[in-house]
């Protein structure tokens, strides 16, 4: 199977879906002539022309709203928001409109829209460019939120998202764009929205994660294997709907759980998962659930401060050791 980057997986999928369906079009800032701020849309303007690959002015609220309205008439816009931080200026359109239009109008109209955007931080981007807001969207019924961790899932979930008739928030990660993985050629697979995956089986502890933190969890699992610790990694892939049964199945098997996400600790993604585990697997737990998340500060610029504000492999290992204390 060919090995490609997460970026290539996204780029290929966008190209294939543009070729497959005339109603699919891409919109966003700098996605055409500039080739995309992170080169996800590289070459697509050249191939498909400005009707299908649309450079927008800096007006997130305007063009996200426009994409929703266009979707209501049958187009399938795939909107790129340069980083998730900028979705905030369009949040009325996403939360008050995209997520409600199908239900609130009694199912008469569909909003087949994808909003692709990288979340999280990397490389000293500072307080306003390093945030994780996927939980804001995962909170909203009516939206679907996916956050692939591998090139394979990136491709399969992007396909699923574009072919889905509901608004899908597609969470990417700057730190994942250059990661590599196996992706089949000439295979029209989709990764279903709403299903998690056990990315690595284990017996001592379950780590629940998504997006970049799944990559961290897999590295940690490999490292700890040498110490004889067997870590099962559950990759959520979808944040809404949340695949609670897969989480619970795993925790019932290992009896210990650590949840890791890049967002802030309080009210964050890890809180939802931990609550789910105590509701549905309380009697199976041999230790309290551990949570690993970002420090609760506006992310500082200074290099070292910045680095320790986000969860690391070491912070995950610390949590795993804590949850394993007393286990023989």
């Amino acid at each position: 199977m060919p090995i490609i980057t997460y970026r290539q997986a996204l780029n290929n999928t966008l190209g294939e879906e543009l070729a497959r369906d005339e109603n699919v079009l891409l919109m966003g800032e700098e996605i055409g002539l500039f080739q995309g701020s992170y080169r996800i849309t590289e070459g697509l303007l050249e191939t498909f022309g400005p009707r299908r690959v649309v450079d927008t002015p800096i007006a997130e609220e305007g063009f996200v709203g426009l994409a929703i309205g266009a979707a209501m008439l049958g187009l399938r816009p795939v909107v790129e928001i340069m980083t998730i931080n900028f979705v905030l200026v369009a949040i009325d359109q996403v939360v008050n409109h995209a997520s409600k239009i199908h239900y609130m109008f009694g199912g008469q109209v569909r909003v087949p829209l994808v909003i692709r955007t990288p979340s999280g931080g990397t490389g000293q981007l500072g307080a306003t460019h390093s945030q994780s807001f996927e939980n804001w969207f995962a909170y909203c019924p009516g939206l679907k939120v996916v956050a692939p961790a591998t090139p394979y899932d990136a491709k399969g979930l992007l396909r699923a998202a574009i072919r889905d008739d509901d608004p899908v928030i597609f969470i990417e990660s700057l730190a994942l764009y250059d990661t590599k993985g196996e992706v089949p050629d000439n295979d029209d697979y989709v990764v279903p929205i709403g299903l998690a995956e056990v990315k690595r089986p284990g017996t001592d502890v379950t780590v629940i994660s998504y997006s970049r933190m799944t990559a961290v969890a897999l590295q940690v699992a490999q490292r700890l294997e040498q110490e004889g610790i067997s870590v099962e990694v559950v990759d959520l892939r979808s944040l809404r709907p949340l695949d609670r049964p897969t989480i619970i199945r795993s925790v019932k098997k290992t009896n210990r759980a650590v949840v890791i996400a890049e967002d802030w600790y309080s009210y964050g993604m890890t809180a939802e998962i931990a609550a789910t585990i105590q509701e549905e697997a309380f009697d199976d737990l041999d230790a309290p659930v551990q949570r690993v998340a970002g420090l609760e500060v506006p992310l500082p610029y200074a290099k070292d401060l910045s680095a320790i504000s986000k969860p690391s492999a070491n912070s995950l290992i610390h949590a795993i050791r804590t949850v394993l204390e007393g286990k023989r």
Partner: protein
């Protein structure tokens, strides 16, 4: 008689009698519908917020008659009259206000969220300005797919102070989209007058920075509204030239049914209702020009009263949405791990202590 009144009378005399009678019938239907809605609200048949189109009948009927079946309409939350004038049956509209399964939005929307896909009535929206980018997007889709028609983004005067409006103007002009920005200028955004809220009180000028043509139109004159919409609609459709219509009217009552309207001078409101009542003005001009007789006005009133009463009866006799349908329409494409009818029924039992 003022010059404007003379011109209005001359325009009526040039018009086909059947058309005029149809307009009168529609305007009166909107009037009576809203008066009865107000009554039903007080009787607690209707909940939530409820905003009436009283005083706006001429602008609504004029707008809707200038549109074609290809066109799409997005409105704000003061939209009962628009969906009625678009030809949707009064029964399902009233049923939606009553929160019934037979309502135009299946009882999921309410007064502020009416919708009818077949009529291209693309919804009432209750976040000020929210519908404007959506309407621009619909116009984008028409152009993209090479389809005929234009889109109307209806909004209140105060919407011209929010950012989404300006982003929408920019995109509409930049991409040459077939859209009309139809501003219902009733002088007040809730309790804030246009002069208090807008540094440019002439709203027709607010597209200036985007090179969008704007006109102020007397919204109490059905023919003036219709003719302006026809003319600007054609430019929008054929040349991709968006336009702003600043359509003035007088708000008869408070912002919503429950607003006691204490911030406006009571005498001025009384005078305004007399001066700017589009239905009464239209009836008078039709009678004065000999186009209709008193018998027609009386028959129309009876007919309209019956239609509205039938709508109320339909709404009253309609079932509530079923509990097990709580999650129906949650997602258009089903996906695993979402709640279903069983979950809904469980929630009902717990919530009701059964």
């Amino acid at each position: 008689m003022t010059k404007a009144a003379e011109a209005a009378r001359a325009a009526v005399e040039r018009e086909d009698g059947g058309t005029l009678r149809r307009y009168y019938h529609q305007m009166l239907l909107l009037r009576r519908f809203e008066e009865r809605v107000s009554e039903m609200y007080v009787k607690a048949k209707i909940g939530g917020y409820c905003h009436l189109n009283l005083g706006e009948e001429a602008s609504i009927v004029g707008l809707m008659d200038a549109l074609t079946p290809d066109d799409y309409i997005f409105t704000n939350y003061r939209e009962h009259g628009y969906i009625l004038a678009r030809g949707v049956e009064p029964g399902p509209i009233m049923a939606e206000l009553f929160g019934k399964e037979t309502g135009v939005s299946g009882g999921r929307g309410g007064s502020m969220h009416l919708f009818d896909a077949k009529a291209h009535f693309m919804g009432g929206y209750a976040i000020v300005g929210g519908q404007v980018p959506l309407a621009v997007g619909a116009a984008y889709a028409l152009k993209y797919q090479g389809k005929p028609g234009v889109v109307v983004a209806q909004m209140g005067d105060a919407t011209t102070n929010i950012g989404a409006f300006y982003e929408s103007l920019n995109l509409a002009k930049l991409w040459k989209l077939p859209i009309l920005f139809f501003i219902v200028n009733n002088g007040y955004g809730m309790g804030t007058s246009v002069e208090h809220g807008s540094s440019e009180p002439n709203l027709s000028k607010k597209g200036g920075a985007f090179r969008i043509h704007g006109e102020r139109i007397d919204g109490t004159n059905v023919l003036a509204v219709r003719d302006a919409v026809r003319r600007l609609r054609q430019k929008a459709e054929e040349e991709g030239e968006p336009a702003i219509l600043d359509v003035t009217s007088f708000r008869f009552r408070g912002h919503s049914v429950i607003d006691a309207d204490r911030y406006r001078d009571a005498d001025a409101v009384r005078r305004g209702r007399e001066t700017f009542d589009p239905v009464r003005k239209f009836a008078a001009i039709l009678r004065d020009t000999g186009i209709v007789e008193d018998a027609f006005l009386k028959e129309t009133a009876e007919l309209v009263d019956r239609m509205v009463q039938d709508a109320i009866d339909f709404a009253n006799n309609s079932p509530e949405p079923k509990f097990e349908d709580m999650y129906t329409h949650m997602y258009a494409t089903p996906v695993p791990n979402t709640p279903d009818a069983q979950d809904a029924i469980r929630a009902v039992k717990i919530n009701r202590g059964e």
